[in-house]
């Protein structure tokens, strides 16, 4: 047993998959950042808002005015350097730090796929993605034909965890028995040509997509793993992600997933991609002699044992973190305790309306807050149905009005939320003074329970 584990970690495998992964990842990240900038989102999401929602323990991470652009520039350049494999270790470190900093600046913009990017770039810190087909390999005149097999498998495992948990979390009564929220979302796609008025309105189709999505997510890591099913699995990956791209505004995520899953293929596929890339470079009259030369070398890359240890610990944590929601009582979709960082994607159509009331607890005089004065529309939308954000904003308001000279400030919220087509109901205990509550990892007893039960994960 121990021997076979040791054997596994000593196994070598072609370095080509890592090189291709690095190239695609870097370029996609570069494009993502340029796209983000060109849509004006740096301005509207990070510079315009006067208040930012922080992650627990990361309150010190804030946008820094116009310097925020510098983070995006640094992040973009490092992504490009990762793509071409130039000073790879430093570039991926800078990319990981700057990208993660950007994501930590405001909770409002949390997306599972941004989290995925941070995790992948963390793994890439410890594996030799520049071993071949990189500027680094050319400049040290040493290219590696093989790398330890586990370095490639760590990326496969990460993708597997994402898909598998995304599938497992779909096993709930809303998703499978009521086709919610897909029923709402698909019906509203009536404006799609040909299928909008027909297919998108069929009840069986809503169920088909819900069940199909669940089976797809759970099985795709295994289908990709076995050679026999790999090709059809990849066809499914492309079809699935293109479908989601057409139906939902999910940005670059489909492309990231499609290109990432290529890592599951054998090295000959990756060599083909590398040779094709060289042809493109030659088409643009670039000298590729040095790149080609590097393939003739036969070197085996050795990775530090510390790196291996870090990756093993990291992967174990990744398997545990999505399960933490099991520790909390109450309805997960409603309370959202342990909802983030657990690959729960597209499971909820949740909208809220939260009105804050500032009360002088001595005189009982009060006034309502106009949220437009403090938050952008995007922030209001997200805050309205997420308890930790409601609490954080409540504290911000309380402190703001205290500093304006208001006395005995107590903050209450009249909050109503509708979840997956249910009629809205009161969300936060309206008699709870938010100023007396502290955010923590403990159960938030001040959330009123959902008048319904969602069975499953």
């Amino acid at each position: 047993m121990i021997n076979s584990i040791a054997n596994y970690f000593n196994k070598q495998s072609s370095a080509a998959p890592l090189a291709v992964f690095r190239m695609f990842f870097g370029f996609l990240m570069f494009i993502s950042l340029v796209r983000f900038w060109s849509k004006g989102w740096i301005e509207s999401l990070y510079i315009e808002p006067s208040f930012h929602f922080s992650y627990y323990g990361f309150e010190w991470v804030k946008p820094v005015g116009l310097y925020t652009y510098a983070f995006f520039i640094i992040c973009g350049i490092s992504a490009f350097f990762v793509a071409i494999g130039y000073k790879y270790r430093l570039s991926i470190l800078i990319f990981f730090l700057s990208f993660t900093y950007i994501e930590l600046m405001d909770k409002t913009t949390y997306l599972n796929h941004y989290y995925f990017v941070s995790l992948v770039s963390f793994i890439m810190l410890f594996i030799p993605c520049n071993a071949m087909f990189s500027i680094d390999a050319i400049s040290i005149r040493k290219s590696y034909k093989t790398v330890p097999k586990w370095t490639i498998d760590s990326l496969k495992l990460m993708l597997g965890i994402v898909y598998f948990y995304a599938g497992i979390t779909k096993i709930n009564s809303d998703w499978l028995l009521n086709a919610m929220p897909l029923k709402l979302w698909l019906k509203s796609k009536y404006d799609l040509p040909f299928i909008g008025h027909t297919l998108m309105q069929q009840e069986w189709f809503h169920f088909f997509m819900s069940w199909g999505g669940m089976f797809y997510d759970i099985s795709i890591p295994f289908l990709l793993l076995f050679r026999k099913t790999r090709s059809i699995a990849f066809v499914l990956v492309v079809a699935f992600h293109i479908t989601t791209r057409v139906l939902f505004p999910i940005g670059m995520f489909p492309y990231i997933m499609i290109l990432s899953t290529i890592i599951f293929f054998d090295s000959n596929v990756h060599y083909k991609i590398i040779h094709f890339t060289i042809k493109i470079l030659e088409f643009f009259k670039m000298k590729t002699d040095n790149l080609k030369l590097s393939f003739s070398q036969v070197n085996h890359y050795k990775v530090w044992n510390t790196s291996l240890l870090i990756i093993v610990v990291f992967m174990t944590i990744q398997i545990i973190i999505p399960l933490r929601s099991l520790l909390y009582p109450g309805e997960l979709f409603w309370n959202e305790q342990g909802y983030r960082f657990s690959w729960r994607v597209m499971l909820m159509e949740k909208k809220g309306n939260s009105v804050f009331k500032i009360v002088n607890s001595k005189t009982n005089s009060f006034f309502y807050v106009n949220n437009d004065d403090f938050l952008t529309p995007v922030q209001q939308k997200q805050m309205s149905f997420q308890p930790d954000m409601i609490l954080e904003y409540g504290h911000y308001l309380g402190n703001h009005f205290k500093s304006q000279g208001h006395q005995n400030v107590a903050v209450f919220v009249e909050s109503y939320v509708s979840l997956n087509g249910r009629l809205s109901q009161q969300f936060i205990d309206p008699s709870a003074n938010l100023m007396e509550l502290k955010d923590s990892f403990k159960h938030k007893f001040w959330i009123k329970p959902l008048n319904d039960e969602i069975k499953g994960f």
């Binding site: 499978l176 069929q202 069940w211 106009n370 529309p377 009629l423």
Partner: protein
């Protein structure tokens, strides 16, 4: 087992489970989307917006004409005619304020017509310096429109005869001129917005897709915005002091100087809101396709739409218990004003969370990725 077999079995299982789970009592198993959203736009445009403008535009023209008459001959009868026409037009306006779309948005129609409380100091300053531009999109919004006329017709003196004496005084000729300038401006902007609606009608009604810039989404967003800000906040919340620490703000009542009509205006507004929601033809009882019928189609029942309608009628009941004059009401018993505010807030919740969820219409100006 080969690949094709495996995947076929998967698909088969998924399909079978899906079929067995869908409620078999549902008769409409082969639903085709036969709800044509364009019919909502056609009904709203042809039976609400355009008729409301057809009604409003001549009323503003008459108002302007009567002001011209009054400036030629400052008689009590002429003053009273102006005042009556002002009330009439102001009521009609309540049916248009929510349509802050296209030309109206571009020209700041709503801000120019009904920014209240009006700024007496700015009006007086404009009159004294005789140097003003009501058209520039600056802070002159609070010195024109219905609220400015409110001040000039009812706020200069306590009684009509005193007001008349004021205008008959040659030293106050500048006030007469300003009265005319305000009326001209109102007519001019109204004409432009009205003409534009006639012009864009055909394009407007075809834009029924589900996107941030489609007519349907903009109408829905504007409707909710009006319900929350124009109706709930401006007519009740701010005057009742719910945004200012229980310090009531009677001067913020709509039509403050002639506040006996404040309840009438509020009731017109909620009628307009209800009429839009159920697709009721302007000044008629016949109804057509609307947000209500769309909601009913999407939810397969009338639970949500009737809950919304109940909030509207509850709000109306509460408003009807108020004094005709909201200024008096605030002084006598402000709690009742707050009750209306709270009831309207319940409506806001239903429209903003339940309705937008069911219709999958995204809130204005939100542009970001999801996952």
């Amino acid at each position: 087992m080969n690949i094709k077999k495996t995947s076929c079995i998967y698909l088969l299982i998924a399909f079978l489970i899906a079929l067995s789970c869908s409620d078999s009592s549902d008769s409409n198993e082969n639903v085709v989307d036969n709800f044509d959203r364009q019919t909502i736009l056609e009904n709203v445009t042809d039976n609400i917006i355009l008729p409301a403008f057809d009604d409003f535009n001549p009323k503003i023209a008459q108002l302007k004409e009567s002001i011209t008459q009054f400036s030629i001959s400052t008689t009590l009868a002429n003053l009273e005619t102006v005042q009556e026409l002002w009330v009439d037009a102001y009521k009609s306006w309540q049916h248009l304020e929510m349509f802050n779309i296209a030309k109206a948005e571009e020209l700041y129609f709503l801000q120019k017509m009904n920014t209240y409380p009006t700024s007496v100091s700015r009006i007086e300053n404009n009159i004294n310096t005789n140097n003003y531009n009501l058209d520039s999109n600056n802070n002159n919004w609070s010195a024109q429109g219905f609220p400015a006329l409110d001040y000039l017709l009812f706020g200069l003196a306590d009684t009509n005869s005193e007001t008349l004496i004021f205008y008959q005084n040659d030293e106050n000729l500048a006030y007469l001129n300003y009265l005319q300038a305000v009326a001209s401006q109102m007519l001019q902007v109204t004409d432009m917005v009205h003409q534009d609606w006639i012009l864009i009608r055909d394009v407007f009604v075809t834009s029924s897709e589900n996107s941030a810039t489609s007519s349907l989404n903009m109408l829905t967003n504007d409707f909710i915005y009006y319900f929350e800000k124009g109706l709930r906040t401006n007519k009740f919340g701010i005057p009742a002091g719910v945004f200012s620490g229980n310090n009531t703000r009677a001067a913020n009542v709509e039509a403050y100087y002639n506040s006996t009509i404040s309840k009438t205006l509020a009731l017109e507004a909620i009628e307009a809101v209800e009429g839009f929601f159920i697709g009721q033809t302007y000044n008629s009882t016949s109804t057509g396709e609307s947000l209500k019928s769309y909601l009913d189609y999407m939810t397969d029942n009338t639970t949500l739409s009737s809950t919304v309608l109940m909030k509207f009628s509850d709000s109306k009941l509460l408003i009807n218990t108020l004094d005709d004059n909201f200024v008096n009401q605030i002084v006598l018993n402000n709690e009742l004003m707050i009750d209306v505010f709270n009831k309207l807030q319940e409506g806001v919740v239903l429209l903003k969370t339940d309705m937008l969820s069911v219709l999958s219409i995204s809130v204005d100006y939100i542009d970001a990725d999801g996952d």
